[in-house]
Symmetry: none
Subunit: 258 residues, 2 copies
């Protein structure tokens, strides 16, 4: 089992030194995949200096324009966050994060650990793309960790979970008895397509008023995001929406199994 299916995503980083520090922390802990969303200053000699030898991670870093691109193929997305958001979201501490990441990797999934801007963190919209929020239990009186330090803590917990998992090969055997389609988790982009389809359908049946969306979609994202939906289950959920839309539109539709 490898840690290559866990990517670290840094969103809109201001200081190149922090990118270098994050790369070093990743490499120390055996992580290799770095994705930079719209970095302000990269490549940069400051990144190389702080990477202190982890330049291979910087050289192979993927640079993308949007968080959406950074998450393509991911079945589990975790975003670091301060504690108090208006809609409470499933919250993990770093230790739980390590465990959850490793479980996902064992199921064949791809994981993204998403870190926000140095001063402003992640936006609410970005946080709603995450199934879980991760809070590093800092002192409330001085709570903001340096970006590279936050990467260090989570990468450390991922490694601790990985070391523990490599003592216990029994989980692998358990998986082999279940079908792939039913265990394979959906990816973040498949989940986004589902949310789009769901929102559209809720508007069509008159349950969601685009003028007064309230917190309906965030709440549904939070619910489905934490379920660990398999590809088979996603097929069912999408099928329900498609049939609902046909009904609303008065289109003919076949029963399944006909």
């Amino acid at each position: 089992m490898s840690l290559q299916s866990i990517r670290v995503v840094l969103v809109n980083t201001s200081h190149a030194g922090n990118i270098g520090g994050a790369a070093r922390a990743m490499k120390n802990m055996g992580l290799t995949r770095l994705v930079l969303v719209d970095p302000e200053d990269f490549p940069s000699p400051n990144a190389v200096a702080r990477a202190s030898g982890a330049t291979d991670i910087l050289d192979s870093a993927q640079i993308v324009a949007t968080l959406e691109e950074a998450l393509v193929g991911c079945s589990l997305v975790l975003g670091t966050s301060a504690r108090d958001r208006r809609i409470p979201w499933p919250l993990l501490d770093p230790r739980e994060t390590g465990t959850v990441c490793l479980e996902q990797v064992e199921r064949g999934g791809e994981v993204a650990l998403v870190f926000g801007r140095e001063y402003a963190g992640l936006t609410n919209e970005e946080l709603q793309r995450c199934q879980y929020h991760v809070h590093i239990p800092s002192d409330p009186a001085f709570s903001s960790l340096n970006l590279a330090a936050a990467v260090q803590v989570l990468a450390y917990e991922v490694r601790m979970a990985w070391l523990a998992a490599n003592d216990q090969p029994s989980k692998q055997e358990k998986l082999e008895t279940t079908s792939m389609l039913d265990t394979q988790p959906v990816t973040a982009d498949e989940l986004e397509h589902y949310y789009g389809h769901l929102e559209q359908t809720l508007v069509e049946i008159g349950f969601l008023d685009p003028q007064k969306p309230r917190h309906l979609m965030p709440r549904l994202r939070r619910l489905y995001g934490r379920c660990g939906i398999s590809k088979l289950e996603m097929n069912i959920l999408r099928g329900i929406l498609t049939e609902t839309q046909k009904t609303v539109r008065g289109e003919p539709h076949k029963r399944r199994g006909d």
Copy 2:
């Protein structure tokens, strides 16, 4: 119980920036006492810059000439170390370190966490002044952590142990920020009513053929059953079904929020 009886000792640090980074990591995790043994470059604006507001820790840092002075009053001394020393020493990982530190503090002891030079670590003589050696489980192929990152990992584990010893206030706070309706889980009978409602609706939209039900309902039960649905979320899911049925039946229905 306070963390003031745990001091961080940095030996012969070369880069002032690392002292600042260490101070920030300490303050984030609720540690306050910093002792500098013969620092090469301190005080320094680089330390202040990287401390990012943890200047009170820099201002109150104690500067001493020898490790011996730094350890006065300590009942437990732990030194960070690479793994392979000629004389095998009691070795702790960071998690065990957190536990051992807290046990000592609870007994009224004073603890020192000792960190060596950026490039050369602690000498054998210095390591022999430590009761335990602490090894951060890094990748053997790239094992040397940044000094501030190493302080961050150990300070984090100390805080995790402290939170656990203080009856896990982190989890407590987690609950207090969420509304009751949104955290209170649905009961088994509420879930059964939902499944009945869902099945009925799926038949009405033509997605479920009662003559050929296949494994549709068991799969949906498995999916929703593992989500830990709250009462609020259940209201939303039931509302979607009700609106879908009204649409199928051609009944008038109000938009939510009207």
